[in-house]
């Protein structure tokens, strides 16, 4: 069975996997990082989004072997060691951008990547279009869009 070495939230791990093992299965089952969720089986919902080498990726659509040698950031690795929330997490809380919380890890990780890609500013339409890969059944997206818009200046140092 192949072995995969990857750094997750700053810590290096080597795990044994099958060829068919998905990255999300490694995170949830081998590394006990259950914050990343599985919500579908057709790559639509985005609950599984993590960052791989700084860029968002759907961990349900990536084989573990593809993640060999990469650096992965999951929702568990976002807040600082002292518990201080990332601005995106903070704005999600402030603007009530989550209800059941199941889509939230993937939504937050996608949102961070989205805002990273628009350093100069982001419009409401760009936010809505940029969330096409993330489904939420609870919020209707209204507050998620508000939270992301509010996080943008905090993330790009313009607060």
């Amino acid at each position: 069975m192949p072995q995969v070495t990857l750094t997750v939230n700053g810590k290096q791990h080597t795990v044994e996997v099958e060829n068919r093992t998905l990255l999300v299965e490694v995170l949830r089952e081998k590394l006990a990082l259950t914050g990343t969720h599985v919500g579908c089986d057709t790559s639509q919902c985005g609950a599984c989004v993590v960052h791989v080498d700084g860029v968002s990726a759907k961990s349900c659509t990536m084989l573990a072997v593809q993640a060999n040698g990469t650096s992965v950031l999951t929702i568990e690795g976002l807040a600082a060691a002292d518990g201080t929330l990332h601005p995106m997490q903070e704005m999600f809380r402030e603007h009530h951008a989550l209800q059941c919380g199941f889509c939230t890890p993937g939504m937050v990780m996608s949102a961070i990547d989205l805002v990273n890609n628009y350093p100069g500013g982001i419009t409401e339409q760009e936010i809505r279009d940029g969330l096409e890969g993330n489904l939420c059944r609870c919020t209707g997206y209204h507050n998620i869009v508000k939270a992301i818009a509010a996080a943008h200046p905090l993330m790009h140092g313009k607060a």
Partner: protein, 793 residues
């Protein structure tokens, strides 16, 4: 810190764990030594099972056991029960065919469980399941109600000839027919309410565990109501007494009704865990959820309104067929009857109403309550019919509603369909919505859009709904097999902090925050010293769970009653401590005072004394400070309101863009305005989804064509606008909080507002009605068929 009682938009306690990926959802739970279950499901809609050869599967590496329906039957495992019995017009009870946990003898829908494989890993179980050899003989499938009701149609259940579950009615047909015969005009509308798939983002999951030493069973499950599951599964399916069965619903990722029901997989993992003597875990894959979670809606109706020359509603007559699917799900029979037909007065003073409902079995997934449960169906019918009345008579759509509203001074108002409304002011919610939506400025917007080549329309829906489920004796008389009270146990700890044990179960609604706010308000305990515990039958005395917008109205009211008892006991203790008479003790802001003096004790002084009862009225009062209340509501609650949708259609593609959506809702007392807004926004999104995007589609062979998220259109952020959400509240008169509930109103009022707007946008094309979903293909066809007609003119 700021004010954290009733009315404050307190930020949520539960966010701390959800935002850091530290939620505890059922699939996150792993028990030592656990095995994994994979459910093999029927790939055909209707067939007899001649035999299942499990040998190859059982012999596969890692497989510990394979079970089929006959294995369960041999141990007298009961079928999944139905919790509501409806009677026919002639008084006879509905057909109630058995619903085995795993199919026996016959499969009745694609997705029907036929076997379960239990193995060391999920992949091993899944791989082994492919080696099951199932000998089917296909039967003709009845995939639609029309097919099921046709003469000579295949029968889904021997117990239900003609595939009819029940033929029910409400109202006096003879009186209503008489009103229609004498009416100035009758407006008729044929309409459907499209079948939906709830698709909460968390797929269902269940972990069964059995303690060999104590004989205790534990089930972890994605449920909105763990006590109900314990009762149904323990008493009727697995025959386990309550004290040997613990059901835990941890964090649940959305439900919308689909996680109310007692499902086969819960019984399977609990039973199997005892059989194999190891924990058994099952998690649905999404395509599996599509064919096993209860679906919603699925009505076909004819609606008629008798009116006079001024457009006054004289009588309403409705005939509905409601799809039950292949088996009766837990609450299914009540959804198209007592949660639907009793809402057909809506906000109007229509004097007579008759509704008949035929419930039909088909070879499709069972149908049951989904956000709104019967009230979206009633509202869509009524509000489309009212617009049809306006269309046919030329009377303005807003004016026709105003003319027929129940006036604000008419409450309590007894409708002709059983319900008595306690309070409401429909003229006000309408007026505020018209202002917020800038209804007056719409024609200018329509003209401006036309100049850009777009078709704009605006639509209104004035709705009323019934929730705060429910008064037990009333629903019992209507066929419910359960009580629908709620339970709160409030424990004041010796050092003054409070734990609330509630029988409700939040799955996104923020109860850990909002219910704590009730304690801040009434006991004056600081917010961060109140903890709300829910979801575990071992910790909470009893409860009926969260659905039907009941948690605040019923669960919150139970908490108020329990806190009243705490205060009453506290006053006696305070009187003793302060050597005063109990009549002179007042309680406010966490403090007991002797009226007219500066003598006072805090709740913490009292609770410490209660647990260390040295200076204490021990002869009259037991130590401790903990009270339980069971609250049975006196009536349903009646939120209502006005929703206005504004759409812009691109004639070249038929795509509908919702440019504005305005909601003004009456939800009674608001505890946390931020949470109420979130609930309404989420409901509106589901309503727009129903109106424009979503449909569960079967082919004639009963194959689920919309079987995954690739084929079933879930609303995304770019399908939806920002929402304008406001409240104009009248208090509920019969519960101590005055709250009516807000969880479902968004999904109830919005679909007709959107369809009414689309019909308005297309009025030049002669569109009087459109069924949902109003897809771009449907609209494009109308526009382009209409264009050649218009060009010819």
């Amino acid at each position: 810190m700021g004010f954290e009682g009733i009315g404050a938009s307190v930020r949520r306690k539960e966010d701390a764990r959800f935002l850091n990926g530290r939620g505890n959802y059922t699939d996150d739970i792993n028990r030592p030594g656990q095995l994994h279950a994979y459910v093999k499901r029927s790939d055909r809609a209707h067939a007899t099972i001649n035999g299942i050869d499990t040998a190859a599967a059982a012999a596969t590496a890692g497989v510990v056991a394979v079970f089929t329906g006959p294995d369960m039957a041999a141990e007298n495992i009961g079928g999944l029960p139905c919790g509501w019995q409806i009677h026919n017009k002639d008084g006879s009870p509905m057909a109630e065919p058995p619903h085995p946990v795993i199919a026996v003898g016959k499969v009745r829908h694609v997705g029907d469980p036929v076997a379960v494989v239990i193995a060391e890993t999920k992949q091993q179980a899944k791989d082994a399941a492919e080696l099951l050899s199932i000998d089917y003989t296909d039967l003709p499938a009845v995939a639609t109600m029309a097919a099921a009701l046709a003469s000579g149609a295949a029968t889904v259940h021997d117990d239900a000839p003609g595939n009819v579950c029940y033929d029910w009615h409400i109202g006096d047909k003879a009186i209503v027919d008489g009103v229609f015969a004498n009416a100035n005009k009758v407006v008729r509308l044929d309409l459907t309410n499209n079948r939906l798939i709830p698709n909460a983002m968390e797929p269902r999951a269940a972990v069964g565990d059995y303690d060999v030493n104590s004989g205790d069973y534990t089930l972890y499950t994605t449920s909105q109501n763990p006590h109900v599951i314990r009762l149904l599964m323990g008493a009727f399916v697995l025959h386990i007494p309550e004290n040997k069965l613990r059901v835990v619903a941890p964090d649940v990722g959305g439900g919308f009704g689909s996680k109310i029901y007692h499902y086969a997989e819960e019984a399977i993992v609990t039973w199997a865990a005892a059989k194999v003597r190891r924990p058994v875990k099952w998690t649905a894959e999404r395509t599996e959820s599509f064919m096993s979670d209860a679906h919603g809606r699925d009505h076909v109706s004819t609606a008629e309104m008798a009116i006079d020359a001024q457009g006054t509603f004289l009588g309403l007559r409705v005939a509905t067929q409601a799809n039950m699917g292949a088996y009766l799900s837990t609450f299914a029979p009540c959804v198209p009857t007592y949660l639907y037909a009793t809402l057909l007065a809506g906000t109007y003073k229509t004097p007579v109403i008759y509704c008949e409902v035929k419930a039909v079995f088909t070879n499709t997934v069972p149908v049951d309550a989904y956000r709104g449960a019967g009230r979206p169906e009633a509202t869509f019918l009524l509000e489309r019919l009212v617009d049809a009345v306006a269309y046919d008579t030329g009377i303005d759509r807003v004016e026709i509603r105003r003319r027929n509203f129940i006036p604000a001074d008419a409450f309590p108002y007894q409708t002709p369909v059983a319900l008595e409304y306690d309070s409401g002011d429909y003229q006000t919610t309408l007026a505020v919505a018209l202002t917020n939506a800038d209804w007056a400025g719409f024609e200018a917007r329509r003209t401006e859009a036309k100049a850009r080549g777009k078709l704009r329309g605006i639509g209104i829906s004035t709705y009323l709904e019934a929730c705060g489920i429910a008064p037990s004796a009333v629903v019992g008389s209507l066929g419910a097999r359960a009580g629908l009270y709620e339970v709160a146990n409030i424990r004041v700890h010796p050092t003054g902090s409070v734990t609330v044990f509630t029988g409700t179960h939040s799955h996104g609604q923020g109860h850990e925050t909002t219910l704590a706010q009730l304690v801040v308000e009434q006991l004056g305990v600081p917010f961060d010293q109140v903890e709300v515990v829910h979801g575990d039958t071992a910790k909470i005395p009893f409860g009926m769970g969260t659905y039907g917008s009941r948690s605040l109205a019923v669960g919150g009211s139970a908490m108020v009653k329990a806190m009243d008892k705490i205060i009453a006991k506290g006053k006696k203790i305070a009187a003793h401590m302060m050597e005063a008479s109990v009549e002179d003790i007042e309680f406010a802001n966490n403090t007991f005072t002797v009226a007219g003096t500066d003598k006072s004790k805090t709740l913490t002084d009292i609770s410490l004394c209660a647990y260390v009862p040295h200076n204490y009225p021990i002869d009259e009062l037991e130590p401790g400070l903990e009270e339980t209340a069971f609250y049975d509501p006196k009536n349903f609650t009646f939120p209502g309101g006005c929703h206005i949708g504004e759409v812009e259609i691109d004639p070249e593609t038929g795509v509908v863009h919702v440019v504005n959506f305005t909601a003004v809702d009456d939800v009674g007392r608001v505890v946390n305005p931020m949470i109420v807004e979130g609930q309404v926004q989420g409901g509106i999104a589901q309503g727009i989804g129903q109106a424009l995007l979503e449909a569960a589609i079967y082919d004639d062979n009963g194959q689920l064509m919309s079987g995954s998220m690739m084929d079933y259109t879930m609303p995304r952020a770019d399908n939806l606008p920002n929402f304008s959400v406001a409240t104009e509240n009248t208090m509920c008169t019969h519960n101590p909080l005055g709250s009516k509930g807000c969880g479902e109103v968004g999904a109830i009022g919005s679909p007709p507002a959107v369809i009414n707007a689309i019909c308005d946008a297309l009025k030049d094309y002669g569109v009087r009605h459109m069924n949902m979903p109003a897809t771009s293909g449907k609209i494009w066809s109308i526009i382009h068929a209409g264009s050649s007609k218009m060009a010819a003119n």
